[in-house]
Homo-oligomer: 153 residues x 2
DNA sequence: CGTGAAATGATTCTGAT
DNA sequence: ATCAGAATCATTTCACG
Protein backbone atom coordinates (compact mmCIF):
# COMPACT_ATOMS: atom_id res chain seq x y z
CA UNK A 1 0.00 0.00 0.00
CA UNK A 2 2.90 2.33 -0.73
CA UNK A 3 0.95 4.59 -3.02
CA UNK A 4 2.93 7.81 -3.08
CA UNK A 5 6.43 8.34 -4.34
CA UNK A 6 8.57 11.42 -3.88
CA UNK A 7 7.16 13.01 -7.06
CA UNK A 8 3.60 12.72 -5.74
CA UNK A 9 4.64 14.33 -2.47
CA UNK A 10 6.31 17.19 -4.31
CA UNK A 11 3.18 17.78 -6.38
CA UNK A 12 1.05 17.87 -3.22
CA UNK A 13 3.44 20.29 -1.54
CA UNK A 14 3.21 22.61 -4.54
CA UNK A 15 -0.57 22.47 -4.85
CA UNK A 16 -1.32 23.05 -1.18
CA UNK A 17 0.61 26.30 -1.45
CA UNK A 18 -0.60 27.39 -4.88
CA UNK A 19 -3.42 25.55 -6.56
CA UNK A 20 -3.20 27.79 -9.62
CA UNK A 21 0.20 26.50 -10.70
CA UNK A 22 -0.28 24.92 -14.10
CA UNK A 23 0.62 21.31 -14.72
CA UNK A 24 3.15 22.66 -17.19
CA UNK A 25 4.89 24.75 -14.52
CA UNK A 26 4.86 21.87 -12.07
CA UNK A 27 6.22 19.58 -14.78
CA UNK A 28 9.07 21.98 -15.48
CA UNK A 29 9.90 22.22 -11.79
CA UNK A 30 10.01 18.43 -11.51
CA UNK A 31 11.80 17.89 -14.84
CA UNK A 32 8.86 16.08 -16.38
CA UNK A 33 6.26 16.75 -19.05
CA UNK A 34 2.68 17.78 -18.45
CA UNK A 35 1.07 14.37 -19.01
CA UNK A 36 2.49 12.42 -16.06
CA UNK A 37 1.94 15.39 -13.76
CA UNK A 38 -1.63 15.62 -14.96
CA UNK A 39 -2.23 11.93 -14.40
CA UNK A 40 -0.68 11.99 -10.97
CA UNK A 41 -2.83 14.93 -9.89
CA UNK A 42 -5.93 13.16 -11.12
CA UNK A 43 -4.94 10.08 -9.19
CA UNK A 44 -4.24 12.10 -6.04
CA UNK A 45 -7.70 13.66 -6.34
CA UNK A 46 -9.41 10.35 -6.96
CA UNK A 47 -7.67 8.59 -4.08
CA UNK A 48 -8.60 11.43 -1.73
CA UNK A 49 -5.18 12.91 -0.97
CA UNK A 50 -6.50 16.16 -2.45
CA UNK A 51 -9.90 16.89 -0.94
CA UNK A 52 -10.74 20.06 -2.84
CA UNK A 53 -9.53 23.40 -4.09
CA UNK A 54 -10.48 26.70 -2.50
CA UNK A 55 -9.83 30.41 -2.74
CA UNK A 56 -8.60 31.95 0.49
CA UNK A 57 -10.29 35.31 1.03
CA UNK A 58 -9.34 38.29 3.12
CA UNK A 59 -11.60 38.30 6.18
CA UNK A 60 -10.96 41.93 7.04
CA UNK A 61 -11.77 43.18 3.56
CA UNK A 62 -15.02 41.23 3.73
CA UNK A 63 -15.93 42.87 7.01
CA UNK A 64 -15.24 39.95 9.32
CA UNK A 65 -12.26 41.37 11.22
CA UNK A 66 -12.96 39.69 14.56
CA UNK A 67 -11.92 36.10 15.23
CA UNK A 68 -13.10 34.56 18.45
CA UNK A 69 -12.18 31.26 20.00
CA UNK A 70 -14.75 29.59 22.24
CA UNK A 71 -14.03 26.80 24.62
CA UNK A 72 -17.21 24.98 25.51
CA UNK A 73 -17.85 22.37 28.17
CA UNK A 74 -21.08 20.42 28.16
CA UNK A 75 -23.15 19.76 31.22
CA UNK A 76 -24.16 16.24 30.20
CA UNK A 77 -21.97 13.91 28.20
CA UNK A 78 -24.29 11.18 26.96
CA UNK A 79 -23.85 10.22 23.34
CA UNK A 80 -27.14 11.79 22.34
CA UNK A 81 -26.28 15.12 23.91
CA UNK A 82 -22.96 15.27 22.11
CA UNK A 83 -24.51 14.46 18.73
CA UNK A 84 -27.21 17.08 19.24
CA UNK A 85 -24.65 19.70 20.17
CA UNK A 86 -22.59 18.91 17.06
CA UNK A 87 -25.64 19.16 14.82
CA UNK A 88 -26.65 22.50 16.25
CA UNK A 89 -23.15 23.92 15.94
CA UNK A 90 -22.95 22.96 12.28
CA UNK A 91 -25.96 25.15 11.59
CA UNK A 92 -24.25 28.29 12.86
CA UNK A 93 -22.76 29.99 9.82
CA UNK A 94 -20.38 32.07 11.94
CA UNK A 95 -18.56 28.93 13.11
CA UNK A 96 -15.69 28.09 10.79
CA UNK A 97 -14.21 25.27 12.85
CA UNK A 98 -15.49 23.05 15.62
CA UNK A 99 -13.51 20.27 17.27
CA UNK A 100 -14.47 17.77 19.90
CA UNK A 101 -11.53 17.79 22.29
CA UNK A 102 -9.74 15.70 24.85
CA UNK A 103 -8.63 17.91 27.69
CA UNK A 104 -10.18 20.36 30.12
CA UNK A 105 -12.89 21.43 27.68
CA UNK A 106 -15.19 19.49 25.38
CA UNK A 107 -15.41 21.69 22.28
CA UNK A 108 -13.41 24.25 20.61
CA UNK A 109 -14.92 26.77 18.17
CA UNK A 110 -13.39 29.31 15.82
CA UNK A 111 -15.77 32.07 14.86
CA UNK A 112 -15.57 35.00 12.47
CA UNK A 113 -17.60 38.11 13.09
CA UNK A 114 -18.09 41.72 12.17
CA UNK A 115 -17.34 43.06 15.63
CA UNK A 116 -17.56 42.55 19.35
CA UNK A 117 -21.20 43.53 19.46
CA UNK A 118 -21.97 40.81 16.96
CA UNK A 119 -20.11 38.37 19.20
CA UNK A 120 -22.28 39.40 22.10
CA UNK A 121 -25.32 38.91 19.91
CA UNK A 122 -24.02 35.56 18.65
CA UNK A 123 -23.62 34.26 22.20
CA UNK A 124 -26.92 35.73 23.37
CA UNK A 125 -29.15 34.65 20.51
CA UNK A 126 -27.44 31.54 19.10
CA UNK A 127 -25.03 29.81 21.49
CA UNK A 128 -27.28 30.27 24.49
CA UNK A 129 -30.11 28.68 22.52
CA UNK A 130 -28.11 25.48 22.56
CA UNK A 131 -28.90 23.86 25.84
CA UNK A 132 -26.48 21.61 27.64
CA UNK A 133 -23.64 24.14 27.50
CA UNK A 134 -22.01 24.19 30.90
CA UNK A 135 -19.00 26.45 30.69
CA UNK A 136 -18.19 28.94 27.92
CA UNK A 137 -14.84 30.69 27.76
CA UNK A 138 -14.19 33.34 25.12
CA UNK A 139 -10.90 34.46 23.63
CA UNK A 140 -10.24 37.00 20.91
CA UNK A 141 -7.48 37.05 18.34
CA UNK A 142 -5.32 40.15 18.65
CA UNK A 143 -2.97 39.16 15.86
CA UNK A 144 -2.64 36.33 13.39
CA UNK A 145 0.98 35.38 13.85
CA UNK A 146 0.79 32.48 11.43
CA UNK A 147 -2.09 30.92 9.52
CA UNK A 148 -1.81 28.43 6.71
CA UNK A 149 -3.85 25.56 5.34
CA UNK A 150 -0.71 23.71 4.30
CA UNK A 151 0.64 20.86 6.36
CA UNK A 152 4.23 19.76 6.67
CA UNK A 153 5.02 16.27 5.43
CA UNK B 1 -15.26 53.08 -1.42
CA UNK B 2 -18.15 50.71 -2.11
CA UNK B 3 -16.16 48.38 -4.29
CA UNK B 4 -18.15 45.17 -4.30
CA UNK B 5 -21.58 44.58 -5.70
CA UNK B 6 -23.74 41.51 -5.21
CA UNK B 7 -22.19 39.80 -8.27
CA UNK B 8 -18.70 40.14 -6.79
CA UNK B 9 -19.90 38.66 -3.52
CA UNK B 10 -21.47 35.73 -5.31
CA UNK B 11 -18.26 35.05 -7.21
CA UNK B 12 -16.30 35.10 -3.96
CA UNK B 13 -18.73 32.73 -2.29
CA UNK B 14 -18.39 30.31 -5.18
CA UNK B 15 -14.60 30.43 -5.33
CA UNK B 16 -14.03 30.01 -1.60
CA UNK B 17 -15.94 26.74 -1.83
CA UNK B 18 -14.59 25.51 -5.15
CA UNK B 19 -11.70 27.28 -6.77
CA UNK B 20 -11.78 24.90 -9.74
CA UNK B 21 -15.11 26.18 -11.02
CA UNK B 22 -14.45 27.62 -14.46
CA UNK B 23 -15.32 31.20 -15.29
CA UNK B 24 -17.73 29.74 -17.80
CA UNK B 25 -19.61 27.77 -15.13
CA UNK B 26 -19.69 30.75 -12.80
CA UNK B 27 -20.91 32.92 -15.66
CA UNK B 28 -23.72 30.50 -16.39
CA UNK B 29 -24.73 30.40 -12.73
CA UNK B 30 -24.85 34.21 -12.61
CA UNK B 31 -26.46 34.62 -16.05
CA UNK B 32 -23.43 36.36 -17.50
CA UNK B 33 -20.72 35.56 -20.03
CA UNK B 34 -17.17 34.57 -19.26
CA UNK B 35 -15.57 37.96 -19.89
CA UNK B 36 -17.12 40.02 -17.07
CA UNK B 37 -16.66 37.15 -14.63
CA UNK B 38 -13.05 36.88 -15.66
CA UNK B 39 -12.49 40.62 -15.22
CA UNK B 40 -14.18 40.66 -11.84
CA UNK B 41 -12.09 37.76 -10.56
CA UNK B 42 -8.93 39.52 -11.72
CA UNK B 43 -10.01 42.66 -9.95
CA UNK B 44 -10.86 40.74 -6.77
CA UNK B 45 -7.41 39.16 -6.86
CA UNK B 46 -5.65 42.46 -7.52
CA UNK B 47 -7.51 44.33 -4.79
CA UNK B 48 -6.71 41.58 -2.31
CA UNK B 49 -10.14 40.14 -1.64
CA UNK B 50 -8.78 36.84 -2.93
CA UNK B 51 -5.45 36.17 -1.24
CA UNK B 52 -4.54 32.93 -2.97
CA UNK B 53 -5.71 29.53 -4.15
CA UNK B 54 -4.82 26.31 -2.39
CA UNK B 55 -5.47 22.59 -2.49
CA UNK B 56 -6.84 21.18 0.76
CA UNK B 57 -5.16 17.86 1.50
CA UNK B 58 -6.22 14.94 3.67
CA UNK B 59 -4.09 15.07 6.83
CA UNK B 60 -4.78 11.49 7.81
CA UNK B 61 -3.81 10.10 4.42
CA UNK B 62 -0.57 12.06 4.67
CA UNK B 63 0.18 10.55 8.04
CA UNK B 64 -0.60 13.58 10.20
CA UNK B 65 -3.67 12.24 12.02
CA UNK B 66 -3.11 14.06 15.31
CA UNK B 67 -4.17 17.67 15.78
CA UNK B 68 -3.11 19.34 18.99
CA UNK B 69 -4.11 22.71 20.37
CA UNK B 70 -1.62 24.47 22.63
CA UNK B 71 -2.47 27.38 24.85
CA UNK B 72 0.68 29.21 25.81
CA UNK B 73 1.20 31.95 28.36
CA UNK B 74 4.43 33.89 28.41
CA UNK B 75 6.39 34.70 31.53
CA UNK B 76 7.42 38.17 30.39
CA UNK B 77 5.33 40.40 28.20
CA UNK B 78 7.71 43.08 26.95
CA UNK B 79 7.43 43.88 23.27
CA UNK B 80 10.76 42.29 22.49
CA UNK B 81 9.82 39.04 24.17
CA UNK B 82 6.59 38.79 22.25
CA UNK B 83 8.28 39.44 18.90
CA UNK B 84 10.94 36.86 19.64
CA UNK B 85 8.35 34.29 20.57
CA UNK B 86 6.41 34.92 17.36
CA UNK B 87 9.55 34.59 15.25
CA UNK B 88 10.50 31.32 16.88
CA UNK B 89 7.02 29.88 16.48
CA UNK B 90 6.99 30.68 12.77
CA UNK B 91 10.02 28.47 12.30
CA UNK B 92 8.26 25.38 13.64
CA UNK B 93 6.90 23.54 10.60
CA UNK B 94 4.43 21.55 12.72
CA UNK B 95 2.56 24.74 13.66
CA UNK B 96 -0.20 25.47 11.18
CA UNK B 97 -1.77 28.38 13.05
CA UNK B 98 -0.60 30.72 15.78
CA UNK B 99 -2.65 33.56 17.22
CA UNK B 100 -1.80 36.18 19.80
CA UNK B 101 -4.84 36.25 22.05
CA UNK B 102 -6.72 38.46 24.43
CA UNK B 103 -7.96 36.38 27.34
CA UNK B 104 -6.52 34.03 29.91
CA UNK B 105 -3.72 32.85 27.63
CA UNK B 106 -1.33 34.70 25.34
CA UNK B 107 -0.97 32.36 22.38
CA UNK B 108 -2.90 29.73 20.74
CA UNK B 109 -1.29 27.11 18.47
CA UNK B 110 -2.73 24.47 16.17
CA UNK B 111 -0.30 21.68 15.42
CA UNK B 112 -0.39 18.65 13.14
CA UNK B 113 1.61 15.57 13.98
CA UNK B 114 2.14 11.93 13.25
CA UNK B 115 1.23 10.74 16.72
CA UNK B 116 1.31 11.42 20.43
CA UNK B 117 4.92 10.45 20.72
CA UNK B 118 5.78 13.06 18.14
CA UNK B 119 3.85 15.60 20.20
CA UNK B 120 5.89 14.71 23.21
CA UNK B 121 9.02 15.07 21.16
CA UNK B 122 7.78 18.38 19.71
CA UNK B 123 7.23 19.84 23.18
CA UNK B 124 10.46 18.42 24.54
CA UNK B 125 12.81 19.38 21.74
CA UNK B 126 11.17 22.42 20.14
CA UNK B 127 8.67 24.26 22.33
CA UNK B 128 10.77 23.92 25.44
CA UNK B 129 13.70 25.43 23.54
CA UNK B 130 11.71 28.63 23.34
CA UNK B 131 12.35 30.39 26.58
CA UNK B 132 9.83 32.72 28.16
CA UNK B 133 7.03 30.16 28.04
CA UNK B 134 5.23 30.26 31.37
CA UNK B 135 2.25 27.98 31.12
CA UNK B 136 1.56 25.37 28.41
CA UNK B 137 -1.77 23.61 28.18
CA UNK B 138 -2.33 20.84 25.63
CA UNK B 139 -5.55 19.66 24.06
CA UNK B 140 -6.09 17.01 21.43
CA UNK B 141 -8.74 16.85 18.75
CA UNK B 142 -10.91 13.76 19.10
CA UNK B 143 -13.14 14.63 16.18
CA UNK B 144 -13.36 17.33 13.56
CA UNK B 145 -17.00 18.30 13.84
CA UNK B 146 -16.70 21.10 11.31
CA UNK B 147 -13.75 22.57 9.45
CA UNK B 148 -13.88 24.94 6.52
CA UNK B 149 -11.78 27.75 5.12
CA UNK B 150 -14.86 29.57 3.87
CA UNK B 151 -16.32 32.49 5.76
CA UNK B 152 -19.91 33.60 5.86
CA UNK B 153 -20.65 37.06 4.45
C1' DC C 1 6.19 5.49 -16.14
C1' DG C 2 7.61 8.39 -19.30
C1' DT C 3 7.38 11.42 -23.99
C1' DG C 4 5.45 14.19 -27.65
C1' DA C 5 1.87 15.54 -30.42
C1' DA C 6 -3.06 16.25 -31.41
C1' DA C 7 -7.81 17.39 -29.83
C1' DT C 8 -10.51 19.74 -26.71
C1' DG C 9 -11.78 23.32 -23.88
C1' DA C 10 -10.74 27.39 -20.84
C1' DT C 11 -8.55 31.83 -20.51
C1' DT C 12 -7.66 36.19 -22.13
C1' DC C 13 -8.04 40.02 -25.38
C1' DT C 14 -10.34 43.03 -28.75
C1' DG C 15 -13.89 45.76 -30.59
C1' DA C 16 -18.57 47.22 -30.13
C1' DT C 17 -22.76 48.45 -27.48
C1' DA D 1 -20.17 47.07 -17.26
C1' DT D 2 -21.40 43.81 -20.65
C1' DC D 3 -21.31 40.79 -24.92
C1' DA D 4 -19.62 37.93 -28.87
C1' DG D 5 -15.95 36.24 -31.25
C1' DA D 6 -10.96 35.41 -32.00
C1' DA D 7 -6.39 34.34 -30.29
C1' DT D 8 -3.80 32.15 -26.96
C1' DC D 9 -2.72 28.84 -23.69
C1' DA D 10 -3.68 24.82 -20.60
C1' DT D 11 -5.85 20.42 -20.09
C1' DT D 12 -6.66 15.97 -21.60
C1' DT D 13 -6.21 11.89 -24.52
C1' DC D 14 -3.57 8.77 -27.00
C1' DA D 15 -0.03 6.24 -29.65
C1' DC D 16 4.37 4.82 -28.66
C1' DG D 17 9.23 3.96 -26.25
Amino acid sequence: MELLDETDLKILRILQNDAKKTTKDIAKQLHLTASPVYERIRRLEKKGYIKHYVAILDKKMLNRPVTAICMVSLRYHNEGFIDTFEQQIKELVEVQECYHMAGKVDFFLKIHLEGLEEYHEFVRSKLSKIHNIGVLESYFVLKEVHNTTAIDF
